[in-house]
Amino acid sequence: MIRTLIAAALLLIASLVWAGKMEPAQSAGGALDARLKKLETELRCLVCQNQTLADSNADLAEDLRREVRELAVSGKSDDEIRGYLVARYGDFVLYNPPVKPTTWLLWFGPFALAVGGAGLWWVILRRRAKMATSTPPDSSDAQARGRELLNNDAE
C-alpha cells in the first residue's frame, strides 16, 4: 500500500515537472512582444510569399524574426527595422507598399479607373437623355411615304 502511494506521489511530481517544461517560455517584455507581433504581421515572408513573417514557419522567417527582435532590443524604431529589411529584400517585404512613382499605378490606378468609368457612364447617360428628349423628325415626307407603302401593301 505504502509502495503504491509512493509510486503515485512520484508520478504526480514527475507530471508536474513535465508540465513545467511544457509551459511556453515567458519573455520579460510583454510590450516588446506585442510590438514585434504587430510589426511582423506587416512584413512578408519571402519563401512562402502569401504569409506574413508572424505566420510563417519557414526557416528564413525564423531567422528574420530573430533579426527583427535583435534590432528592436538594440533600440531601433519600427521604421528603422522596416528600412533594414527593405534595403535587403526590397519593398516586396512590406505588405503596405510605400507611395512612390513606381507604385502610383498600384495606389491610384483603381481610383483613376473608377473616376474614368463614372465619367464615361455620365457621358453615355447624357447622350441617351438627349436622344430621348430630342423630338423625332416630323418630316411629313417620310410619313406620307410610310402611309403610301402601307396602303400599297393593303391592296
Binding site: L46, V47, Q49, D59, R88, Y89, G90
Partner: protein, 176 residues
C-alpha cells in the same frame, strides 16, 4: 466616329491582355533585388576548408567574382552544380561559395561528392550574411565587379542560357 467608338474598348482590352500576358510569363518568386548597383555587403567569415582562415568581401576588391550561395541540403543546387564546375574549369571568373546555413562537414562531403568549383567557400552557419545579401531561396548567385558593386543576381539555379546570355557577357565587360 463609328470606328472610334469600338476602338476604345478594344484598345483597353488589348492593353489588359498584354499586361496579363507579361504577368503570366513572370516568376513571382523572382523578387528584384534592391542590392543591384549597390556595394556588396561586408562580411568576414571562416573558410570551409580552412577554419583558421577568414575571407572578407574587401579581400576581393579589384577582381570580378561570383558569389554562389549553396548548401548541402539544397536540392536545386545539384541542378546548377555541374555548370559551376564547368565554369570553374574554364577559368573565366573565380567563383566563391557561401555555404549557407549548413553543417560544415556535410558541406565538405557534398563538395567531395559533386566536385568543388569554388576558389574558396565560406561558412555562414546562422545565415546572417545571407540576410545581408537578401538571400531567400538557395541557390542564388551574385556577380560583383572590381569596385565591389553587385551587378547581377541570379535567383535559383543558373541555367546555361542565363550563363551564356547574361552572366558571361557581363563578366567580360566588367573585366576590361
Amino acid at each position: 466616329m463609328k470606328t472610334f467608338r469600338w476602338s476604345i474598348p478594344l484598345a483597353i482590352f488589348v492593353v489588359l491582355v498584354a499586361f496579363l500576358w507579361i504577368g503570366l510569363g513572370r516568376d513571382p518568386r523572382e523578387v528584384p533585388s534592391p542590392l543591384i548597383g549597390k556595394p556588396a555587403p561586408a562580411f568576414r567569415l571562416v573558410k570551409l576548408h580552412a577554419p583558421n582562415e577568414t575571407l572578407s568581401a574587401s579581400d576581393l576588391k579589384g577582381k570580378v567574382w561570383l558569389l554562389n550561395v549553396w548548401a548541402s541540403w539544397c536540392v536545386s543546387c545539384r541542378e546548377e552544380h555541374p555548370l559551376l564546375v564547368q565554369l570553374a574549369k574554364a577559368n573565366i571568373v573565380p567563383v566563391y561559395g557561401l555555404n549557407y546555413k549548413d553543417d560544415p562537414q556535410a558541406g565538405r562531403d557534398w563538395l567531395v561528392k559533386n566536385g568543388d568549383p569554388y576558389t574558396a567557400s565560406i561558412v555562414d552557419r546562422d545565415g546572417r550574411v545571407g540576410i545581408d545579401y537578401g538571400v531567400y531561396g538557395v541557390p542564388e548567385t551574385f556577380l560583383i565587379d572590381k569596385s565591389g558593386t553587385i551587378r547581377y543576381k541570379q535567383i535559383g539555379p543558373i541555367t546555361p542560357q542565363a550563363l551564356q546570355e547574361k552572366i558571361l557577357p557581363l563578366v567580360r565587360e566588367l573585366q576590361q
